[in-house]
């Protein structure tokens, strides 16, 4: 199975996210991450989807998305044509025995310490999803209290934008 990143420009109305995710559920598309937010224009919202599947299933996903009247354009993004990143907050138990190890790992991954209390610390880390996965794996040796990830956001490099993509 491959992972695909799709940026989808949709109308900024209530219920649009529901229409998109309802289609995913009905047709059983395997979505591993999804983010949605307003854009540079208040007419549009942008959905970034990480989809796991093969080329045929991905084509089907794109074709089905285009059938929704609220979808304006879709762009497939990858490592070479886009910049992607994710934000994560990790709350760890603040244990004197492991404090220095945590600190070293955080430094190596450029994680920022954003909260410090007697019992816990929170790190904020930004970057590729792979970097997040690796950092979590490292933290598993210690006591993770909770994790929150935003999911991927991606933008195409260079001057072209998703709004210039022809809806076909």
């Amino acid at each position: 199975m491959n992972k695909y990143t799709l940026a989808v420009l949709v109308g900024n109305q209530f219920g649009v996210l529901n229409r998109v995710t309802s289609m995913f559920r009905r047709r059983q598309f395997n979505i591993s991450a999804l983010t949605v937010s307003e854009t540079e224009s208040n007419e549009y919202s942008r959905i970034t989807i990480i989809f796991a599947g093969d080329e045929i299933k991905k084509k089907q996903l794109v074709d089905q998305l285009y059938k929704l009247p609220d979808v304006y354009s879709i762009k497939e993004l990858n490592d070479t044509n886009s910049i992607s990143c994710e934000l994560m907050l990790v709350k760890m138990k603040n244990d004197p025995a492991t404090r220095s190890e945590l600190k070293a790992a955080a430094e190596a991954y450029e994680a920022k310490l954003v909260d410090y209390s007697k019992d816990s610390v929170i790190y904020q880390i930004m970057g590729s999803s792979r970097k997040m996965d690796e950092f979590i794996n490292l933290m598993r040796d210690h006591q993770i209290l909770e994790i929150c990830r935003t999911g991927n956001v991606s933008l195409e490099i260079g001057g072209s934008t998703i709004r210039q993509t022809i809806n076909l």
């Binding site: 229409r19 309802s22 084509k59 089907q60 074709d63 285009y66 059938k67």
Partner: protein
């Protein structure tokens, strides 16, 4: 000029060329019904017995006219009763607009009396749906709904209008009928590639569906068949597009398709699929489906291309416009060997044909054929009778076979036949089974009220025949809950509704009763006795391939 939301609904409908709507009033749609009263000289409202019947009637109206079928219902149960009818239209790509009332905006989300989230419920069975919270958006929304319903691959659209929006007023300027989206042919490069593939084919087969009707591509498709010397088959949704006596036409193929049509498709080296999808009832086992054929698939809906079977050439575009571009690129050729093979399949089919005398299902339909005019629409319900119709009815003009192909909705037929009669302005026919008819026979009341000339031919075998057939073949004859053992007297029932009817116990009786039925002014019900152990043949077992085809059943 300032108009109320309810008036805007009706005026906008009239502007869309809508002359007939089907529906049922109720508390939260009262204002729209008040406007229907006001505009009754410009728009005709047909009151049904149950909202489901209204959707099937609007659907039958749409299938026979090509126009958008319109249905109106109240909130809550009125709206939920539309669901099966909307889903039926969705699966068969029928243009429909459903308008529902809802509780006032201030009460939305509070579970008030007869409040239901119908936009949520119909999300996966509509092309799109709208909740109109503001009267200012009403005209624009209805126009958009009509545009969506009839553009591209047609389908149903629902508009939910809260009561306060029907009451509120706003400025209204008539804007006329909304245009459909412009149709476009497939990309030129794709057409060129497909032409090369067709020119190289020795055994081409044209397989088409309902998309050819919506696109109006039947003539150019016939030209294509002539030019490349190809036989033609279709899905059930394609039936009535070509006259049954067309020399190249082999009929429906698939699970209960005609033998020659299914065999020709199976042995083709190139399948040209037009406005059709490769549904499981068509392909059977997809691994074994037409293994030696390159599939060229032309459809206006890109998501259908390679959805279930891989198309070597997938062409997204309007079928008619694409074929018009494709045709000049094709070499005219004769394919004598292939035609010989097709003739052989036809001869074999003739041997398998059920030629028994007496009141057999096939004889019954052949008898019905004698009474069908060019303009007579035949609706069906779902089950064995539907397949016997698909195999044996004779069609002369497109849009005359009205059947639930995709969803397979039992109870579809009576509403659909009534809607068809309104659509064509002619007598319509419903062929049904006693099981299916039992589901929505309440619409007899509607047929009587409006004196709709509809001939209802019930194949009465006292069982749920199609399910029974499966139980016979695949479930060790365990007839679990398929024996009806009802004592319904359908003739007395027809009379109780104020219609007329008669029994037919043998083929001569059927003939004479049909004669009376087709001369009757208004609905006429025929209770036709059919043996419970009749089979629909041929049959491809579910998940089977042409190697597994059952053409005769041993004792």
């Amino acid at each position: 000029m300032k108009l109320s939301g309810a008036d805007i609904v009706i005026r906008t409908l009239i502007e869309q060329g809508c002359d007939t709507v089907f529906g049922y009033p109720g508390g939260q749609i009262l204002n729209v019904y008040d406007s229907l009263y006001k505009y009754q000289n410009e728009i005709n409202h047909i009151l049904v017995a149950h909202e489901q019947g209204a959707t099937h009637a609007a659907d039958g109206y749409a299938r026979t006219t090509g126009k958008v079928g319109v249905v109106i219902a109240t909130s809550g149960p009125g709206a939920t009763n539309l669901v099966t009818g909307i889903a039926t239209a969705y699966l068969d790509s029928i243009p429909m607009v459903a308008i529902t009332g809802n509780v006032p905006n201030s009460q939305i989300g509070t579970d008030s009396f007869q409040e239901i989230d119908i936009t949520g419920i119909t999300l996966p069975i509509t092309k799109h749906n709208y909740f109109v919270g503001d009267v200012k958006d009403l005209q624009k929304t209805i126009r958009e709904a009509f545009k969506l319903a009839k553009s591209g691959r047609p389908g149903p659209v629902l508009i939910d209008v809260p009561k306060d929006v029907q009451i509120a007023t706003c400025e209204y300027t008539p804007l006329g009928e909304v245009a459909t989206e412009e149709k476009t042919p497939a990309k030129e490069q794709r057409i060129v590639e497909a032409a090369e593939c067709i020119n190289a084919a020795k055994k081409p087969f044209i397989y088409f569906g309902g998309g050819v009707i919506s696109s109006g591509a039947q003539e150019v498709m016939s030209e294509l068949a002539e030019k490349i010397d190809a036989p033609i088959g279709c899905s059930m949704m394609g039936l009535s597009t070509l006259p049954t006596d067309n020399q190249r036409f082999l009929g429906m193929q698939g699970m209960h398709g005609r033998y020659s049509s299914s065999m020709s498709m199976h042995h083709a080296d190139c399948i040209i699929a037009l406005g059709v999808r490769f549904n499981d009832r068509v392909t059977g086992n997809r691994e074994k489906f037409a293994r030696n054929a390159s599939i060229i698939h032309i459809d206006i809906d890109g998501s259908e291309l390679s959805k279930t079977v891989n198309a070597v050439h997938g062409l997204r575009g309007d079928v008619k416009l694409t074929l018009q571009k494709l045709l000049p690129l094709l070499k005219k050729s004769k394919k004598e060997k292939w035609q010989q093979m097709v003739r052989k399949f036809r001869d074999e089919e003739a041997e398998y044909l059920d030629n028994r005398d007496g009141l057999t299902p096939r004889r019954a339909i052949l008898t019905l054929n004698k009474y069908l005019g060019e303009g007579t629409a035949v609706a069906t319900d779902v089950g064995q009778h539907q397949m016997w119709c698909a195999q044996n009815l004779e069609f002369k003009k497109p849009r005359k076979f009205v059947t639930s192909g995709g969803l397979g909705t039992m109870g579809f037929g009576l509403g659909a036949a009534i809607g068809s009669a309104f659509g064509t302005g002619e007598r319509s026919v419903l062929v049904t089974g006693d099981g299916s008819f039992g589901m929505n026979l309440n619409e007899l009341a509607t047929a009587v009220k409006y004196n709709v000339p509809v001939v209802v031919l019930i194949f009465n075998n006292g069982v749920l025949g199609m399910v029974r057939q499966w139980q016979t073949l695949f479930y060790n004859k365990h007839y679990s809950n398929t024996v009806l053992e009802r004592k319904t007297d359908f003739v007395a029932l027809a009379k109780a509704f104020g219609a007329d009817g008669a029994k037919a116990q043998n083929i001569d009786e059927l003939d004479s009763v049909l004669k009376i039925a087709f001369e009757t002014d208004g609905p006429f019900v025929i209770d036709c006795a059919i043996d419970k152990d009749e089979f629909v043949l041929p049959m491809l077992p579910p998940g089977g391939s042409m190697d597994d085809i059952i053409v005769k059943v041993g004792d």
